[in-house]
Amino acid sequence: MAGKKFDYAPAPESRGIVDLQPAYGLFIGGEFVDPLDGRAFKTVSPATEEVLAEISEAGPRDVDRAVVAARRAYERVWSKLPARERGKYLFRIARILQERARELAVLESLDNGKPIRESRDVDIPLVAAWFFHYAGWADKLEYAGVSTASSGPPKPLGVAGQIIPWNFPLLMLAWKIAPALACGNTVVLKPAETTSLTALLFAEICQQADLPPGVVNIVTGAGETGSALVEHPGVDKIAFTGSTEVGKMIARSTAGTGKKVTLELGGKAANIVFDDAPVDQAVEGIVNGIFFNQGHVCCAGSRLLVQESAYDEVLTSLKRRLGTLRLGDPLDKNTDIGAINSPEQLGRIRELSDVGESEGAARWSPPCELPDKGFWFPPTIFTGVSQAHRIAREEIFGPVLSVLTFRTPAEAVEKANNTPYGLSAGVWTDKGSRILWMAGQLRAGVVWANTFNRFDPASPFGGYKESGFGREGGRHGLEAYLDV
């Protein structure tokens, strides 16, 4: 539909602002150090397969060094600091994040493959917002409602081990580090192995902010590094965002250790469109629900539930809209759909999509040219999907939408809740009363009404069932980092 006459010329954001180093060390005790056993791995740009840098792989001894540094910083400096001073550091970090926003956005898009429009307009502004929000909480914890007058001001836990995913690298770092530090903990954070770069740039920002050494430590590596951190006896708290499979492993290995755990895991969210919905905006919401960040979103609206009486209209509009999506260079400012983060993830998306077809669902993608190099998958919708299909039950974590129908509000609720997950849901209707009723019925941590994938640091976020436990964000997110 769009694009024959008005051909947008390439509008690439310059890479020049990013100062990439050939190799990065681990950030322990306020400085970059080499890993003790000298192992390293390469990080590539998923859009071009270009090697961006060498990243150190932290072994168990490196993790131990990091935990020791965090413990020392906790005992000697951070827990002794007046809360107001902790807040000042967080405000300072938030301001530097804003000052260096463009650099962070370019680096995030390079390393992750997400469009610069999203890293620039969504990820990085939210990162700064998270630090500002929790900076304000640092000296007001006794008013957070998690403690009583007799128990006194709530106390931090100590050292938090934090493991984050590759889909929103810096934003997930902010979700983890900002509340932990505001509450008075120190942290050892492990970024995902395919997206370490912005976390390492954040380490530089900690130096720039004169954050006391050891308050934030960043250990890069893959699953082994993660389990070394989870199993380390010196860690008081584990916060994890990632797959349900790994989440279960963490739950098993921390059981009985006394470590406090929060898990934010997978999802298979229902995006429910009633026949009185504002159609044009609902279609935008569907697109934003599943194609935002190539569908690499744990709360993605990957199951579209459309009321049968609106099915034709919604599907026609949706297909027309998908024809206007622009897939390509993540650094081009007009790109809507970027690259799939890794060949492994691309393989999983392909596998589940093939399963969808063999199970009998109808697959559709708009005409869409994929670049020769890099990892790409076209925006895809499956129609004729039933609850029994694997593509309606399993998290695909890619730009693949399964379309189902319903007839009555009760049926919509039943289908929406009929999943092992429960992270988010969306409701599209012009009826306020129905929104409130649905929100009460849906077993999902977040219910969006006439919008989708909107985030705010003041709002708690977290899952039901296999989507995890604990809440992040807002006042509720403080509890995960306080001894209450």
């Binding site: 769009a2 024959k4 006459k5 051909d7 390439p10 509008a11 504002p278 044009d280 905006q281």
Partner: protein, 330 residues
């Protein structure tokens, strides 16, 4: 030259045009028209504004920008609607319309010159044979607060004087009090009075306020036979905004899907910079598509916009910005 043989006031039901076959019941009665307009899908304000904001981030550079600037120039209805308008002012505007930049003959001419009815003869005379059309506001512009007879006389006056296009205003009072059939009949009557002239229906969305109203008024104007739907008179703030143009583009797109008839869109008022104009073209491109990227189907009502487009055009050609004194005032 004033029309002396005005036909008697229109007092009949308009014949059913073929494109409206599927919608014939809609305008059968006040009740059916109301049911239809209120049955259109709602517009979520937050969502519509978010979509317009997102599209405004499109980065249009180099060859795409040069193409868009020239297209925008050909879409301008160069407008002067002031109490202080004189034949001299209109003549000067017409000269600018035909050759926007006297030093550069490659600059295309604008689509039309838009004036008050009494200035139409002067514009017709000056623009004769140039390809630039003459548009006239009518129907007691801008408020529309006059009897139907006066509005029709106003229209005929402009048409008889040679206007190619009539920009009418709807009765916002009638619309807001729910008298949709009255608004409909008035548009039908003005359409009739236009003869061969094209009819643009000004919704004055700044007074209708909600996007739901903008969508309903768009459909109402299209059902009544308008050739174009136009956002504003330019006398009320806010005038053309990106979300309101978005909602109207969705309406013409859906109307063509339903009836097969294509209707044009004209945002007017408040579009002053090349950047604003290009944002509107992006909206057209990603909402209604290629068929509307044409001066026959998309116009921009503006006056100062033209000079900014010329300035950007010169900058793209020479790499330098010239001062405003290098472009003619009107």
């Amino acid at each position: 030259m004033v029309a002396t043989t005005a036909p008697p006031p229109v007092e009949r039901v308009a014949p059913q045009p073929p494109w409206a076959a599927g919608l014939s019941d809609v305008t059968a009665s006040d009740a059916s028209l109301r049911r239809f307009l209120h049955g259109l899908p709602g517009v979520d304000q937050v969502g519509a504004e978010a979509r317009a904001t997102m599209l405004a981030t499109r980065s249009i550079k180099t060859v795409a920008k040069a193409w868009a600037i020239d297209l925008a120039i050909t879409m301008i209805d160069l407008t002067t609607l002031e109490g202080q308008d004189t034949p001299g002012k209109v003549r000067a505007l017409c000269a600018k319309a035909m050759r926007p930049d006297p030093s550069d003959p490659t600059v295309p001419r604008v689509a039309a010159v838009c004036v008050y009815p009494d200035m139409v003869p002067m514009a017709v005379q000056t623009l004769s044979g140039s390809g630039v059309r003459v548009a006239s506001v009518a129907t007691a512009f801008p408020s529309g607060r006059a009897s139907l007879a006066v509005k029709l006389a106003d229209t005929r006056d402009a048409v008889t004087a040679g206007a190619d296009e009539i920009d009418m205003v709807i009765d916002r009072g009638a619309f807001l009090s729910g008298r949709y059939m009255q608004v409909h009949e008035e548009i039908v009557a003005v359409r009739e009075a236009c003869g061969n002239a094209h009819l643009k229906v000004i919704l004055e969305t700044g007074e209708l306020v909600t996007y739901d109203n903008a969508r309903r008024a768009s459909w109402l104007a299209m059902l009544a036979g308008g050739d174009f739907i136009k956002t504003s008179t330019g006398k009320i703030s806010p005038a053309a905004t990106l979300p309101v143009t978005l909602v109207m583009l969705e309406a013409v797109r859906d109307f063509r899907d339903t009836t097969g008839r294509q209707v044009g869109v004209k945002p007017a008022g408040g579009i002053r910079t090349a950047k604003d104009a290009i944002k509107h073209l992006v909206l057209v491109n990603e909402t209604a598509g290629d068929d509307w990227l044409d001066p026959d189907w998309f116009r921009i009502g503006a006056s100062s916009l033209l000079n900014d487009l010329l300035m950007q055009r010169t900058k793209m050609a020479t790499g330098r910005y010239s001062g405003p004194d290098y472009f003619t005032l009107d």
